[in-house]
Amino acid sequence: MNSEHLRQKLIAAARALPASEAVPYRFEKRIMAGLGASPRPDFTAWLIRALVKPTLICLGIMALTSVWTFVQPLPPTTDNDAPEIENAIWAPLDSLGDPV
């Protein structure tokens, strides 16, 4: 017999056999006896879960901004910038006049 056909028959047999829901007598007592102190609301887990979304949004914005910075064309530069900066830096000293 074909193995795929046999497999389908086996699956059909498994479906026809529902797993038993029987519970041993007073099983919940056994579980309760093995438990420790009462659970408490886990605020750390709650805080982590609450912070994950905003963090991901911030990272997304950061990534987009970085990409935008690289993609955006730079403003045109002029060759006259250097003398202008030099003049601006030396302007206070020039205003003092020549040393005697």
């Binding site: 046999l6 497999r7 028959k9 086996l10 056999l17 797993a19 009462s38 659970p39 887990a45």
Partner: protein
């Protein structure tokens, strides 16, 4: 009046242990049925169920009621069963010779109808269990959830924590693995 799950959980978190006992009472039949799909020996089944409810107790503080409690508990149950299968996968090969020629003959002749007797049903159960025990843990989990319990791929992804494509890939591999196991059984029969 019967209290809702959220009321029982809130009371448990306030320290009322009897509320948790009520939750156990409500869900333990389903959990037992789920666990019996993966473990055969009664002592193993009981240990796994106890582990599931102990884990649920420890993690109850992190339950946020985003999904029904039953889904959260089933996720925990399926993952605990998977851990059990992985921990016991070394014993898989041992049961290959347990399958009798009669059981395989019966499966070949079975027309898919109801079982005629309890003996026939238990023989079928034995055959199904032995065949499933030959599979790898992930294959057994997928075959059980997808084919026997007839859950959707999306539902399995939620239960196992695997992605939808991973569930599909594992289902494909699991079917192939099962065919191989049955070929092995058939070979054994005709030797």
């Amino acid at each position: 009046m019967e209290l809702s799950d959220s009321d029982l959980i809130a009371a448990t978190l306030k320290g009322d242990q009897s509320s948790y006992e009520a939750l156990i009472g409500k869900y333990q039949p389903r959990i037992f049925a789920t666990v019996r799909r993966y473990a055969r020996r009664p002592d193993e089944v009981e240990d796994i169920v106890q582990e599931i409810f102990t884990k649920a107790w420890q993690k109850l503080g992190s339950y946020r009621a985003e999904a029904p409690f039953e889904h959260w508990l089933m996720r925990l149950a399926v993952r605990t069963c998977y851990d059990f299968l992985r921990a016991h996968q070394r014993n898989r090969e041992a049961n290959l010779s347990d399958i009798g020629i009669e059981e395989l003959d019966w499966l070949e002749k079975w027309d898919g109808g109801a079982f005629e007797s309890t003996e026939q049903a238990s023989a079928a159960r034995e055959l199904v269990q032995s065949a499933l025990e030959q599979l790898s843990p992930s294959a057994r989990l997928i075959i059980t959830l997808l084919e026997i319990e007839e859950r959707s791929v999306k539902e399995i992804a939620q239960l196992t924590g695997w992605s939808v494509p991973l569930v599909k890939v594992r289902a494909f591999r699991a079917r192939a693995e099962m065919r191989k196991v049955l070929e092995k059984f058939a070979k054994q029969k005709y030797l």
